[in-house]
Each structure stands twice: as C-alpha cells, then as structure tokens.
C-alpha cells in the first residue's frame, strides 16, 4: 500500500471506494488513478454520484469502504495535509455573498497563509476579468462572474490538485468554451484538474474521462479510445420529417438502437450492418423525402448511451 504513497506521478488514487446513504448506494466500487498534470473528467447525469466522489476526495465525507489518496495522502488519516494542498470549487456557489470580490479572494488567501500578491500569476488571467468589479459584493455578481471568482478563490493558495464540481452546469455554450480555455491554461501551469460535468460534449476537452451512472463507472479511458470501442457501426439518417423518421426507424425490426441527435438520427442495426439501399427504399415507401444516410463516428454521448443500456 505504501508504494502508492510514494508514486509521485499519481495525483489521485481511488481503490474500491463505496458510499451508502442509508439504503441508497451512491458509489459502488470506484477504482481509478489520476496522473499528475492531467485534466480528468467525471462525466454523467445528476444523481450519478459525482458530488459524493468529490466530497470523499476533498475529505468532507467518509467512504464506507475503500481507500483514497490525494497527492499521496490518505483522505482519512491525512485529511489536514490534503486540505492544505487541494483547491475545491463546489457545484453550488459557496463564497461569502456579503463580502466583496476582493475581500473574498483576500479571505481565502489568508486562510491558507498566503497573499493575493504571492500567487497572483496563477489567477491573473481569470481574476483580471472581474477585477473591475472588485468592490462589488459577491452576491451581486452575475453567474459568469461568480464562477470566475470561485475559481480564483479555489486557486489562490496554488493547489496541486484542483477539484471542480460541475463548473459549467447551467452556463451557456460560449461561456463554457471560455471556461475550458481557462482550464487548459491552468493545466499548462502544472495543476492537476479533476472536473465533473453533465455535458457529454465537454469530454473531448479532457485528457481522460470516466463515464458515471448510478454510482458506477461505466468506463475509464481517453475520449478517443472510448469512441473506438463503440460496439456497432453507427449511421446518421436525415429526412424532411424528423419526428416521423424517428418513429419509422424505431418500428423497423432490424433497428438495434435509434436516437435523435440534433438534426440527425443515429441508428445502429441488429445484424451489425445496415444496407443503405434497403433502408432508403423502406423510407421512400413510408413517404420520406430528402433522405440522407451515411456512416459516422460515434460521439461520447452515443458511447454513454450504449454503455448505460448494457
């Protein structure tokens, strides 16, 4: 066991971690390692267990079973060491609403025995965006500004591992892209980042991801490898009447799975192969017009759905 303590390449180590709340199994046998300097994404819907896992790793709650190490320190025995060296941004805005922007940042710096000046370099890019409002109370900030302040406060003591619990939930697509840009910059400065999200399209921005559902990891790998492990050939189908198309494809006997994906429908077939001509003919018979069928590469969302239905 002690070897893991000494492995400097592993920032987070999680072994057989389980957590129950009364009769609800929030986490079941979670095993994974996060390498130093990685952006590791925990991706899954609300209620899957993401927040529970983050709370265990940040020493806020205890697991019922298993071992977890952060930066080589045990989450149970060495919780004081862990709290000194990790940054944690919870899903709910948890700063002091009645302190100003600057007071909040100053407060968190002081709690960790440092000053804003000492680590200003690390937060500069993010904090500068809200600095014009440094005398505004945190409670009066807009959603996007609150998010930037919370990230600055989680960073001001220069943590070695940063835990971000759903930082982009409810955030519009443009701001989400910006936020991921900030994470990339932090990674470049050597900070390990563990981030959770319900948005499957953010998977490709992580080095490795774990897909989580009902307290269990469905898979852990690079986004690229997960996509390459998709079991069937996948096809995108379009026509002028998309809802009717979905119903017609679903009624087709050889359809294995069939889901709407924006302006297309993704379909895989039971016998593995789809015969474009016969499907085209079937859809023409059903009265469809402007039919397009082509083979596509699955998205992480396709993979999630396939894995979660097993």
């Amino acid at each position: 066991m002690n070897n893991q303590n000494n492995n400097p390449d592993i920032a987070v180590h999680c072994e057989s971690v389980s957590k129950n709340y009364k009769d609800v199994e929030a986490l079941r046998n979670i095993n994974f390692d996060v390498e130093r300097g990685e952006i590791f994404g925990i991706i899954g819907p609300d209620g899957a267990g993401k927040t529970t896992l983050f709370r265990i790793l940040t020493t806020l709650i205890l697991a019922n079973e298993g071992t977890a190490l952060v930066d080589g320190f045990n989450v149970v025995g060495d919780y004081r060491d862990i709290r000194k060296r990790v940054g944690y941004m919870p899903g709910r805005f948890s700063l002091y609403q009645d302190l100003t922007v600057e007071e909040n940042l100053n407060f968190f710096a002081t709690v960790f025995n440092t000053t804003i000046e000492e680590n200003y370099d690390l937060v500069k890019d993010i904090y500068q965006q809200i600095e014009p409002f440094k005398n505004r109370r945190a409670g009066k900030l807009s959603g996007g500004m609150k998010q930037k302040l919370a990230l600055s406060c989680a960073l001001i003591h220069k943590p070695s591992v940063l835990f971000l619990d759903e930082p982009t939930t409810g955030v519009d697509p443009v701001s989400r892209k910006e936020f991921w840009g900030m994470l990339k910059n932090l990674k470049a400065q050597g900070i390990t980042i563990l981030v959770s999200t319900p948005y499957m399209d953010e998977a490709s921005l992580c080095d490795r991801i774990a897909l989580i559902q009902n307290g269990e990891f469905l898979t852990i790998d690079t986004p690229k490898n997960i996509v390459s492990q998709y079991k069937n050939k996948l096809w995108a189908v379009e026509s002028d009447e998309m809802h009717k198309l979905l119903l017609d494809l679903r009624a087709n006997e050889t359809t294995k799975s069939c889901f709407a994906f924006g302006d297309k429908i993704h379909i895989s077939m039971d016998n593995g192969d789809l015969i474009v001509d016969s499907l085209q003919k079937l859809l023409l018979e059903k009265g469809h017009t402007n039919i397009f069928i082509r083979e596509i590469e699955p998205t992480i969302e396709d993979c999630f759905m396939q894995l979660s239905q097993r």
Binding site: P45, S142, G143, G144, T169, G170, P198, F259, G262
Partner: protein, 254 residues
C-alpha cells in the same frame, strides 16, 4: 395613442417591442415575435442576455416597462392572473413536493388549477399509462430518480391542458436517454395542440424546435427555423450559429 394588437387565435404568444428596464439597465430591449399554436419555440441566448426576464414577463410574473405582449389571448401587462391560469411552467429547479406521493402531487396541482376531481382521476390514470408509471403512482416523489421527476414535473405542468407551456432549461443535468424521452413528451404535447416555449443550453435540442430565437444583450438577433438559421450563418449546426451570435455580446455578464 398606443397601438393595440389584433388578437389572432392562431397566435398563442405575441410580443411587440416588449421591453423591461431596471433603472438605467435595459434587460429586455424591444423584442417582437409571434408563436403559433402547437409550435415548439426555442428561446436561446447567453447567460445574462435577458431570457429569464423576458420569460417572467410572458408568464405574468413581471410587468413590462414598455411594449405589449399577449399570451393565450390575455394582456401580460394588465391581465396577469388570467395569463397565469392559461399557461403551464416548469424549470430545472422547480420540483414537485418530494414528501407527497406521485398521485398526490398531481391532485394538488390539478386542484390548484381548478380541475374537477373526476377529471383529475381520469387524467391521472391515462398519464400513468403514458409515462409507464403505474407502479410509481403511490411512491413518494422524493424517492424517484431525477429523470422520472423531470418527466413527471413536465406532465404536471401541462396536466390542466394549458394553451402554452414555458420550459426553462427542463433537461439540465438529465441523462442522455431520459433527455430524449423528455423531448418525446414535448412532441406528444404539441400533437395535442399545446404550444411549447423552451430554453436550453443543449444545442442539439435547439434542432428539435420548429423555430428558434437567439437573444444577445436584450435584443433578438436572429429568429427562424434551425434549417434557415444554419443557412443564413453558413453553419453546420446550431452550436456554430449560437457561437457566432453570442460572441458579439457586449454585456459584461458572460
């Protein structure tokens, strides 16, 4: 003389230069659009663009400081109580009463909207069948998985057969399969003539709407079918359309 809007029963929502100012700040800046009966209307915009303020006005919860709006035939400036009776509303945050059973929640909300007991009973039966919820009828709502809850919350929001239902990010955080089942329920509602006004941050869902408007800094910058918007902005998908428009935003909020 203020111009009055001619009421056309096919238009469930009409906004004409609808405006809301808070002091010097114009949250919603002269927006105009119509939503037809049975349409799925996607209402998109960046955080802080003014979507929530506009939606609150359309629901009769906030009085416009300028312009006019008609929802389900009633004036949102003067007939707010009648507006509220004729609409349904559901948001990601809104949840039913966790400590009431499924059927109790339905009875409560049906009763609040003035439905008769017999009608509530009858409709509850058919709703439980539609949702495949017959085994959950007597369960506490708090014990249901999130996906179930959101599907139930939507069904309750249209239980009194409103003319229009407002959905504020109804699928946030919901798993991908349930998210798609949720949209099936939306299609089912529109097939029964209910108009749907929906906000979302999932751009694939924007594609499921009949028409989409995109708000930037309080104004509607684009409004058309997804297909036409993609053509107009020379984009492959709605995400690209959104990125092009929302990047122009000048408001500090992002």
């Amino acid at each position: 003389m203020e111009k009055t809007i001619q009421h056309n029963p096919d238009q469930v929502i009409v906004a004409e230069n609808l405006t809301k100012k808070f002091g010097k700040f114009t949250a919603v800046d002269h927006i105009s659009f119509e939503v037809k009966k049975g349409e799925i209307f996607g209402f998109l915009g960046a955080n802080g663009a003014g979507k929530t303020t506009a939606m609150r006005m359309l629901c009769g919860l906030s009085i416009p400081t300028g312009g006019k709006g008609i929802v389900a035939g009633y004036d949102i400036g003067t007939q707010t109580e009648l507006v509220k009776k004729s609409i349904g509303y559901m948001s990601q945050k809104f949840s039913l009463y966790d400590d009431l059973k499924v059927w109790e929640n339905i009875e409560l909300f049906g009763g609040i909207y003035g439905m008769k007991d017999a009608e509530i009973r009858e409709k509850t039966d058919s709703l439980m069948k539609l949702l495949n919820f017959e085994n959950e009828r007597d369960k506490l709502v708090g014990s249901l998985p999130l996906g179930f809850k959101q599907k139930l919350a939507f069904s309750v929001s249209i239980f009194h057969s409103p003319k229009v239902v407002f959905l504020d990010e109804p699928t946030g955080g919901v798993d991908p399969i349930t998210r798609r089942q949720f949209w099936e329920l939306i299609y089912d509602a529109t097939s029964r003539g209910i108009t749907v006004f929906v906000t979302t941050h999932y751009m694939d869902e924007a594609e499921y709407c009949d028409r989409v408007s995109i708000m930037v800094d309080g104004k509607i910058e684009a409004l058309d079918t997804p297909r036409n918007l993609k053509k107009q902005f020379n984009a492959n998908n709605m995400d690209e359309v959104f990125q092009q428009l929302a990047r122009k935003a000048k408001r500090v909020d992002s």
